[in-house]
Subunit: 449 residues, 2 copies
Amino acid sequence: MNASTNESELDKLNTALEEGAFRQIRYTLNKTLRPSEVAHLIEKSPPKERRLLWSLIHKDIEADVLQELGDDVKSEILSKMNTSEVLAISEALETDDLADMMQQLPETVMHELLRSMDHQNRERLEKILSYPEDTAGGLMNTDTITIRPDITIEAALRYLRRHAELPDMTDSLFVVSRKDTYIGSLPLTRMLVSDPSSTVREMMVTDKPPIPADMEDTQVAKLFEQEDLVSAPVVDEEGQLLGRITIDDVVDVIREDADHSLMSMAGLDEDEDTFAPIMKTTRRRAVWLGINLITAFLASAVIGLFEETIGKVVALAVLMPIVASMGGIAGSQVLTLMIRGQALGHVERSNAGWLLNREMVVGALNGILWALVVAVIAIIWFQDLTIGIIIACAIIINLFAAALAGTMLPIVLKAWGIDPALAGSVLLTTITDVVGFFAFLGLATFFYS
Amino acid sequence: MNASTNESELDKLNTALEEGAFRQIRYTLNKTLRPSEVAHLIEKSPPKERRLLWSLIHKDIEADVLQELGDDVKSEILSKMNTSEVLAISEALETDDLADMMQQLPETVMHELLRSMDHQNRERLEKILSYPEDTAGGLMNTDTITIRPDITIEAALRYLRRHAELPDMTDSLFVVSRKDTYIGSLPLTRMLVSDPSSTVREMMVTDKPPIPADMEDTQVAKLFEQEDLVSAPVVDEEGQLLGRITIDDVVDVIREDADHSLMSMAGLDEDEDTFAPIMKTTRRRAVWLGINLITAFLASAVIGLFEETIGKVVALAVLMPIVASMGGIAGSQVLTLMIRGQALGHVERSNAGWLLNREMVVGALNGILWALVVAVIAIIWFQDLTIGIIIACAIIINLFAAALAGTMLPIVLKAWGIDPALAGSVLLTTITDVVGFFAFLGLATFFYS
């Protein structure tokens, strides 16, 4: 069974859903597909089919499916459960996934859940919950396997064999002191090629530093990417081992982080459910349209200043969107590049000067090139040399403004603690619209009056 | 040494660069920083500093640094090397990274490189090169550790101990037949808890299917994400083991895939170097501006049809950008959501109908809401009831068009084999501009004539 057969499996299921063949669907959901595939199927179904699918899933796999779902969909399903259903599911979850889920539960259900757990599990969970969700502490799991430095590799191998199974994604054992202080890691690959009589201390790796629990999750992701890690130890301020982060959770961070810029630039949330219900979608979208309407009215107000000039030369009304549009396009290219550069950690104060300089020159060169093209077309179209000169100047000015705004906005916004991906594009278009219309109509007023 | 000290390490290096303290820089580059950190430093430096940094790196770590660099930067550096330098570096690379590098070399250097390799390495490399870069075959490495099913776990452990070290990211041994046909996997974590006298066949895992070499890389990434894999076997059509894919290479695919939508929507390439030189940047950007200029002129042509009406009612010129802008914003929200939905595999023919339906209703609701708001403002501003009615109708029509275009464009473009992220936003703005101006000015011509 490879991925392409899976696809047709899903197709079959879709057909069955349409035909109402519930027994067949139940069989496929619970016996043929893996939990990740069931979750994917739920995510790509509209709300009604979604509820139907969820009701057909067997209790035993509910927890597995739930933790594979996106946050938006997960909280929608959780919100429809009663406390005892939530409790039943919580028992089957790993600690970090449980902590994730808790953050989406109502306060009362959360407390009931904590009360129902045994002492050790509650302690573990509370440890994770004490860190914000977007830090190493919130990302970690507590299922570490620890050993002491003074035992031999042979003893360590015997110790492992006493386990029925090792946690998923265990690629290293963590070496700790008597007081649980992190000392080093012993990769399984290294353990397996070691002389059994050598000690853990001799074979362990100490050049990869442990991750502090308060490190931001995007920083953790960068570290995993740079160092090609599969798992990494998490420590508190005293260097005590708290847990470990595994690459599967980091991949989610990377995916969300990358999605964040794309979605934010369109005023969407990165957790946005593709099949969110109509009213929820309408409300979220309305906010963004409202914000953009303010900037649109600002642009209109600028045009309004020059009503008289437009009344005299109507060709100005015909050509003015070109000036604004060229500025908007050029600016959003710079903005996107800067936002990605910030996410990758390429853009910082020390090289901002170089970037601004480059973008100004690029803006000037492209400004001159396209100003000439547009001028020629405008002159031929309206048989008017003046309008060609005016639009050429306006385009050059606006591409300069676009380069300046596109480069500086992300830097300034970030310094102010505002997300450039969210606020950047609105502010940028406001600037390029206002500058574009003002330059074009202002110059026209000067030339034609 | 944790990540925050690293940051200050980089800061110090920046200061040293400015002061020209080359000996200190050379020491930091070659002794203190890891290759991934050196690569990061190079990537976030402007071209001049970049060449300087590269020249200060010791030959021994050149290969390690090079393979951590982005494609754009990598090929810039490779293009400045002569054949013997390329040969020296190629010897230190892993096969999959070497294959990556080869694709950026001139034909002649590539052939010389192939000639210089020993038989076994050349065969391996040619195997990888025979698959497109964006397939499982192009992504795989050939450093698998294979065992036979009929030996005991104890024998397998002895076999491993004969290795000086195991390849990075080895989390499973692959079980193959006498003819190298893939049979199953033996996770190290499972091997370590097994009874040494049991056989590999008894302990191996067979429920995770191997990856066909021609599977697309984005599909591979989805499989890794859904199944939480660290490494996976790659097989040819006959089921013969060809190599393995590891999560570190998959993370690159995920990052690039997610970046792709963001960058394409601004007409940028996902490999785009943040610090590309001026002329290269100018040329790439000029193309995108040129394409957008055509759509801007189309919008202008529509306005041009109604010059007479605008001459009579100049307020139309003041308000018309609002209609176009609201359509553009609403449409790009839908477009972004659809493009992300396609990337996640949520959007397909079977649920397109539901999405179109939802978006049309959302468009209608938001259309009515904002049409009323804009109408009231326009009526008060221009003391003209007619203009309020006209702009309200135009906004509702344009938000409908935006919902329709935003939903259907990605589906139609994808079916035609055109990248929706690249072509979608240009086409969408063309539609919302043309429809917006036409509806607004057309209605005005009707009402005011």
